[in-house]
């Protein structure tokens, strides 16, 4: 029997996907798990994989077309089988069995650590719809009581919208008058997601900011020495960056200051025993925060290799959802833009984010004399619901001490 392939929700917030490129031609044999097409989601370019064995009988949409989640894009069946073309608008609910949880194309990949302990609250209807549409409820933000996922939270995720009223009515946007004094640019998927995510941050979260200046002489010397060592070992491609040292110092400081390694969960605070540091990466048209898992337990070299690899794929928009979710703390570094210091917006539900400026040589007073030292300013943004001033300050002091005396990281 022919199987209809539908656009799957390949990221937690994906509502539609652009079919970038077909990987299989009509008539080609396909096996379950093989890539059928590349799809650009709001976050990345992902692979849409086959959920059935057979032959690709039909490509319903052309390359470049944007398709809502749940709509049919192709048909797989036995060679020669006649294709009853499903209506292009056929909602996902007509073929529930073919698409089990489709958020991760590789089921063997470990999921975000949040999933392990999370009990999903969802209305019976939301559960049924999520199953039919291949949406992982763990990745959906519930808007009902106690975070219950309800129907409206799944609107756009593959089903026909029924036009449910939203809690706060949106006011109508006035029409532009002449249209020449400015340029209206439609929001891209990622810009919409950024707006939605960060809009829930600085407004509702009571931020406060702590800034300190760190003497980086020893860290910079250590970095030079380590890179020299790596060069001597023939590992010329592997390089340790200041940012890698910052990530390591931050992760180790988090193990000592659990209060800053936490999530605000509305009715409780989740203190993480694991340290997963997210690192903000600027990409064309936005930013994304890939996660270095168990950062505290990785060597500088491992951190450096992983950070570069993740950042590279982030810029190509080829991160998988589990690679940019589940961080317990984030670091944002604008040093390469010559920014001295700045404040970063907390990435909810995390309780804090560290904003790092550029390292630069400057005159400082030291032991009664003015000397030139390499210095760096960092600012910790804290959610005051989770972290108090002294708690945040103590954490920041530990980070500073580790950087000023990198050998402390060996302790």
């Amino acid at each position: 029997m022919a199987t209809t392939v539908v656009m799957e929700a390949l990221s937690p917030t994906m509502e539609e996907g652009r079919l970038v490129k077909w990987s299989k031609a009509v008539g080609e044999a396909v096996k379950t798990g093989e890539t059928l097409a590349e799809v650009e989601t709001d976050k990345a370019v992902m692979e849409l994989v086959a959920r059935a064995d057979g032959q690709l009988l039909k490509q319903i949409v052309a390359e470049g077309a944007t398709v809502p989640v749940g709509e049919a894009v192709a048909v797989i069946g036995a060679p020669g089988e006649s294709v009853a073309t499903p209506a292009a608008t056929a909602p996902a609910k007509t073929q529930p069995a073919q698409q089990p949880s489709a958020v991760s194309p590789q089921p063997s990949t470990p999921v975000a650590p949040a999933d392990a302990t999370q009990v999903v609250r969802a209305s019976p209807l939301a559960r049924r719809l999520a199953k039919e549409r291949g949406v992982d409820l763990k990745l959906v933000q519930g808007s009902g009581p106690g975070g219950r996922v309800v129907m409206r939270d799944l609107e756009g995720a593959g089903g026909a919208a029924v036009g449910l009223p939203v809690p706060v009515p949106r006011s109508a946007v006035p029409e532009p008058v002449g249209g020449v004094a400015y340029r209206d640019v439609p929001l891209t998927q990622i810009r919409k997601t950024i707006a939605k995510r960060l809009g829930t941050s600085l407004g509702p979260i009571p931020h406060f900011f702590l800034t300190t200046e760190v003497d980086m002489e020893r860290a910079a010397d250590a970095r030079a020495a380590l890179n020299q060592q790596l060069g001597d070992q023939g590992q010329n491609q592997a390089k340790i960056s200041i940012n890698d040292i910052l990530l390591k110092a931050t992760a180790l400081a988090l193990t000592k200051h659990g209060a800053c390694n936490a999530w605000w969960q509305d009715d409780h605070i989740r203190y993480w025993n694991e340290v997963h540091v997210g690192m903000a990466v600027a990409i064309e048209d936005g930013l994304i925060t890939p996660v270095i898992r168990n950062t505290d337990r990785k060597s500088l070299l491992e951190i450096g290799t992983e950070a570069r690899e993740l950042a590279g794929r982030a810029r190509e928009r080829r991160l998988r959802p589990e690679e940019y979710t589940g961080s317990t703390f984030s670091v944002s570094n604008l040093g390469m833009f010559d920014i001295d210091q700045f404040t970063a917006v907390i990435n909810p539900p995390e309780a804090a984010i560290l904003a790092v400026g550029a390292m630069s040589a400057k005159p400082v007073a030291m032991d009664g004399a003015v000397v030139v030292r390499r210095r760096l300013r960092m600012t910790l943004s804290c959610d005051h619901r989770v972290i108090d001033g002294a708690t945040g300050a103590a954490f920041l002091r530990t980070v500073k001490q580790m950087l000023e005396n990198p050998l402390a990281m060996l302790l």
């Binding site: 209305s123 049924r128 808007s143 309800v150 129907m151 809690p167 009515p169």
Partner: protein, 326 residues
């Protein structure tokens, strides 16, 4: 189409059925000379005579029993209670005789009788005379229970009740008798066991009957101004419930609020909620909520009475909650 009152719609139903079938007769307090406490039997004594429009003493158990005996003997009595509050005295005949006879006689003795009268609160009649009995009555196997909200349904359901071969309880309303509505001339029979969508909507189903239909419709108007399309489902018959209509509507809207005049404990709404959670669990986006009379004897004080009764505002509040808007 003529517009007539609920009272006159009942009167038409009685007159037409008494003209159609000489075995139909009316019995109760003040139904003859006084033409009914609420004038439902106006003109009937004159037209059909004292043999078929029988004034009784103030003795509910007695005349209910006479009615049951007459029905067992082959007649089709319509027994009017001045209110269902008084019919409590006659429950033994209704529950133990009328409802059981067909079963206990092994199907030999049907009891084709109608018990009818106003049910629920009117205005400031205090605790003993403001009660809604539908959950008591629809608890009993062997009885059918209808509760029309409009003149059309009142006429159609009373005619269906008189023609039914089982005992049928018809719950009217003192506050409904003056309500007007369109009723076509001539024969209309509303089948027992069919609910009716009084207003279409897709966001939430307001399930109601009798007087609460008007409350639900007002609530639906208020909700419409908030861009919420409420569906108003009038149960019309409480036993047997129209399960299919309830499930159809909830499947469409995924949320429901049940509105009734009775108390919350073991109410009609409890029965409806049981059906929905059992048969439409996967359709539900929110727990079903109920709007009922407050769980107290009806207060006499006007303001307290108003607060104790279901109201459009309470229905709107419940609807917004099942939509997760509040």
């Amino acid at each position: 189409m003529p517009t007539i009152t609920y009272r006159d719609a009942l009167n038409q139903a009685l007159r037409e059925e008494m003209q159609r079938d000489p075995n139909v007769f009316l019995m109760g307090e003040e139904v003859g000379l006084y033409q009914g406490a609420y004038k439902v039997s106006r003109g009937l004594l004159e037209e059909f005579g004292a043999k078929r429009v029988v004034d009784t003493p103030i003795a509910e158990l007695g005349f209910a029993g006479i009615g049951v005996g007459a029905a067992m003997g082959g007649l089709r009595p319509v027994v009017e209670f001045m209110t269902w509050n008084f019919a409590v005295l006659a429950l033994d005949q209704i529950v133990n005789s009328a409802a059981k006879m067909l079963y206990m006689s092994g199907g030999q003795i049907p009891v084709p009788i109608v018990f009818r009268g106003p049910n629920g609160a009117a205005l400031q009649l205090s605790s003993q005379h403001s009660q809604a009995w539908e959950s008591w009555l629809s608890h009993i196997p062997g009885l059918k229970v209808v509760a029309p909200a409009t003149p059309y349904d009142a006429k159609g359901l009373l005619k269906a009740a008189i023609r039914d071969n089982n005992p049928v309880v018809v719950l009217e309303g003192e506050m409904l008798y003056n309500n007007k509505g369109e009723v076509p001339e001539g024969e209309i029979v509303v089948p027992i066991g069919q609910a009716d969508v009084k207003r279409e909507g897709r966001h939430v189903t307001l399930i109601c009957h009798s007087k609460t239909v008007a409350i639900a419709l007002k609530a639906a108007d208020q909700l419409a101004s908030q861009d919420i399309a409420a569906e108003v489902l009038d149960l019309r018959t409480l036993r047997p419930l129209d399960d299919a209509a309830i499930l159809r509507s909830v499947t469409k809207t995924n949320r429901a609020v049940v509105v009734e005049e009775g108390w919350p404990q073991c109410g009609i709404g409890a029965q409806v909620v049981d059906l929905i959670q059992r048969e439409a669990f996967d359709q539900l986006d929110a727990p079903v909520l109920r709007v009922t009379q407050a769980d107290v004897p009806m207060p006499y004080n006007k303001q307290l009475e108003r607060l104790a009764k279901p109201s459009p505002d309470k229905v709107v509040a419940a609807a917004r909650r099942v939509l997760y808007l509040d």
